[in-house]
Symmetry: C2
Subunit: 212 residues, 2 copies
Amino acid sequence: MLLDALRAASIEAMPDTSEKPPIDSVTPPLSTRDRIIDAFAELLGENGERAATLDAVAAAAGVSKGGLLYHFGSKEALIEGVLERLATLVERDVAAIRSSPSGPVAHLIRTSMATGSALDKALVATSRLAQASNSTARDALRAANDAWYGIVLESTGDPVLSRAIMLISDGLAYGSAFLPESMTPDTAELTRSDIDDLVDLITEVTAQRAGH
Amino acid sequence: MLLDALRAASIEAMPDTSEKPPIDSVTPPLSTRDRIIDAFAELLGENGERAATLDAVAAAAGVSKGGLLYHFGSKEALIEGVLERLATLVERDVAAIRSSPSGPVAHLIRTSMATGSALDKALVATSRLAQASNSTARDALRAANDAWYGIVLESTGDPVLSRAIMLISDGLAYGSAFLPESMTPDTAELTRSDIDDLVDLITEVTAQRAGH
DNA sequence: GTCTATAAACGGATAGAC
DNA sequence: GTCTATCCGTTTATAGAC
């Protein structure tokens, strides 16, 4: 369930939660705050929690450690920043997926593999934090999953099938996020046509079960 | 694909690769080496890479840091220890799954959720290392996946369906490993009967596609 | 084989200049 | 808002006693 339906929109566009009134100019240059969250999420995703140190994040965001700590007073605050971003992106995604012309299920499967969208990055980063036993991160992931499951169930009306669809989506998401690039011949990187086949299979089974 | 088919067997039984000739006595007491690998894998799985420090591992294994470093000269060596253990356990599992009376696919799905077996622990630990961008760990996971996919394909003779089955297995494994316990009502912990339903669904679809 | 002590580097956070 | 300097606890690793 790593979606990139939002890629057409501004990649970041995660206005901070401070007092600043929203400016409806075109693509506002990323705030330092947003660049820092970006850098943190990316480091978490690329190299794991251990590599995502304040030093590394500051360097990647192009600020000093002191500069970073002006915006986020502690590492905990940085983590909260990522979680807030995820929540906003998931909310948007849920809206987008509901109104997908190809139907929610096909849309979900086709966008499950991580492709580097803002939502992908936030999800992967949050997943790393969850695995570092951060329970807030775990709750955030569960909330996102619940939302997606709800849409699929609503669409198919079939709990077992919905479960299977969600698990396939999870498998695609985790596999692409955790075992990127350079696959062996056997399980070689899933191609676009592999995904098409998968969607066809699901569509057939759905139709079959609907017509009991 | 987190299997616990081996739980009946000695939970550890990972004889070290040193010169000692194998002793075929009953359940040899765990060597210090094995206890250290256990502790490392468990800490990695429970609390993430950051928590799996030499200090913490030594304490959990009941030795001093110096004692630990006598057996594993560096953290890298410790990691290699976990990866070697995984390779051995996967090899055994592949043999076990091939000869499952309920059939390989049903066996795979039913044992995908992590339940704390030695193989589960080694897989989760390796997955953590893979996410910390350890490429050897990534290769090990891919190799295990290839082996399992091969068995499923052999069993169904249907590449697309096999892919779907593997993804469901992955979804079950990752979900149980990364978002343990206390689920929300919606996606509440999958029960035994949920898994039964899933196996039934897969069995039906497999039969349907086989009889084209 | 196992321990304590210690070195050297790193990570998070504060203080204060600009 | 951003920087440098610095403090202190942690982490990996070594040395050497038992």
